[in-house]
């Protein structure tokens, strides 16, 4: 038996449990992190957290390791995102026509992104292994010099970018393919009448129409690449010589290996700011480019 009060307020009754859950699980940790970032504490039972003001932030902002980690995070994110978008659009165009086995191809495409990242990290460790790995076998069979891949500070970050590109280009491709399906055929018919070539049609019709889709896809990737953790932790844990240490990994090391909860928290606050900032920037870009409000 439902009272009319219940019916009137149903939307709140429906929404509140989820919202409360998210707020409790999310808001509490964020506020706690912000608070702890002004303290120095190693979980000691004897020494309580000590108020240090902005010292943790000062320590980080004047520290080479922090800026290197920031640099790794940004370059990893931007390079991976740009490569994934370009390759993803290219692959979507390649597969846009109808052919036998298209569903099979789509299924294979799903595999990298649904497969457990930690397990895939291990597989890539084997592939990149300098003496027995497939990557060097391939290079050697093409008559090229073998590389050290993850074992070299100069190549490790690029090697990890390749893994991310392998894992997530399919997502961009699938999203773009879905977007392609929504493009009306009239503009192409008109272009055919004008005698436009394939490339011309792609640049002046497909790309502009796909722009919103591509932007959203790129934004999703941006958010997620910034947060990449599993693949890096399972393969290099930030090494060799910190060459793959991103903010995510450094935050983890500070918190759970050094037990410097204050410094770790201030890093996380800064990292959070970076993610939010970049996300808002992308949203702003999108709105500006679309010139409208959704």
């Amino acid at each position: 038996m439902y009272t009319s009060w219940f019916d009137r307020n149903l939307k709140w009754i429906y929404v509140l449990p989820a919202v409360i859950f998210v707020l409790v699980m999310m808001l509490f940790p964020i506020l706690y992190t912000v608070r702890i970032s002004f303290f120095e504490w190693s979980m000691s039972a004897i020494t309580p957290p000590k108020w240090v003001g902005f010292d943790n932030y000062k320590t980080l902002l004047t520290q080479e390791r922090f800026w290197k980690a920031t640099g790794h995070t940004i370059s990893f994110t931007l390079v991976a995102m740009v490569l994934e978008v370009i390759l993803g659009v290219a692959i979507a165009m390649l597969l846009s026509r109808q052919f036998r086995g298209k569903n099979f191809v789509k299924t294979v495409f799903l595999l990298p992104m649904v497969a457990t990242p930690v397990a895939m990290g291990l597989v890539w460790l084997l592939i990149y292994e300098p003496t027995i790995g497939a990557a060097n076998m391939l290079l050697k069979s093409m008559g090229l010099k073998p590389l050290l891949w993850l074992a070299s500070p100069n190549q490790a970050l690029s090697s990890l970018i390749i893994v991310d590109v392998w894992q997530w280009t399919p997502m961009i491709a699938l999203i773009v393919m879905a977007g392609l399906a929504t493009i009306p055929s009239e503009p192409y018919e008109a272009a055919d009448v004008d005698g436009a070539g394939r490339w011309r049609k792609f640049v002046s019709i497909t790309l502009p129409l796909l722009k919103p889709t591509i932007l959203v896809a790129a934004m999703l990737r941006l958010i997620d690449v910034l947060k990449t953790f599993d693949i890096i932790y399972a393969t290099t844990q930030g090494g060799p010589n910190l060459s793959t240490e991103t903010l995510n990994i450094y935050g983890y090391v500070l918190g759970f290996q050094y037990f410097k909860l204050g410094t770790a928290s201030s890093l996380l606050v800064l990292f959070f700011g970076l993610v939010m900032g970049l996300t808002l920037f992308m949203i702003w870009m999108r709105k500006r480019m679309e010139g409208q409000y959704d």
Partner: protein, 272 residues
Amino acid sequence: MTKRKRTAALIFGLLTALVLLAFAFPFIWMLLASFKTQSQIMSEGQLLFFKPTTHNYTSVFKEYDFLKYIVNSLIIGLGSTLLALLLGLPAAYAIARHHMHKLSLVILVARIIPGITFLIPWFILFSKIHLVDTYTALILSHMLVGLPFIIWIMISFFEALPKEIEEAGLIDGCNHHQVFLRVIMPISGPGVITASLLSFIFSWNNFMFSIILAGDKTKPLPVAVFNFMSYSEINWGALMAAACIITLPVLIIALLAQRYVVSGLAAGAVKG
């Protein structure tokens, strides 16, 4: 003209095959290596043709309690997905029907925030209330990953439902709650499946939350596999067997429910 077409088709076919191979290769490599002995992995002469052994698989189950980890992963994955559905479906419905888009933004923020931001507070909180190494802590944390996805996907699903369906229900004398339970839910199968599959996969794959919040009793597969690497000598065959075991279920889900998973991944994006 036909010749040109045929060459084009050939190039297209080759390119497709190449792309396919590039993305499938790590899986093929993993599968092959999981049936090789250590010395077969080491020797370049036995790339594709070798005498397969199932020793890696038996040793993974015998030496490490993999069955236990599989059960842990299942409990956590199913638990977090079901609870997230319980919270997420009504919320998504209300948001979709009453255009509460500000609220959906709150949910979206959960998707944007780096998970590691939660880890330290959770670790301290769950330690203090003795919840570390319990399914409760793991399910709660994994829900925070699954719930936003479920809500996000289901909002677009419910918005696509024609309003007439509900109006018909209301005329039949149902109240709004009954309409949701008896009219809307039964036709929401495809959306719910998509949402729950993704939520389950995210939980199954989650490593970051589990590595901190799980203990010996509740350790799920990703953490177990990772430990497996750190503490034995690098036994590639067994590692790859473990990797196969852990990826197999998600791969099967992806194969059987390909269109759901694709539509789920694409829905959030294309809709924006």
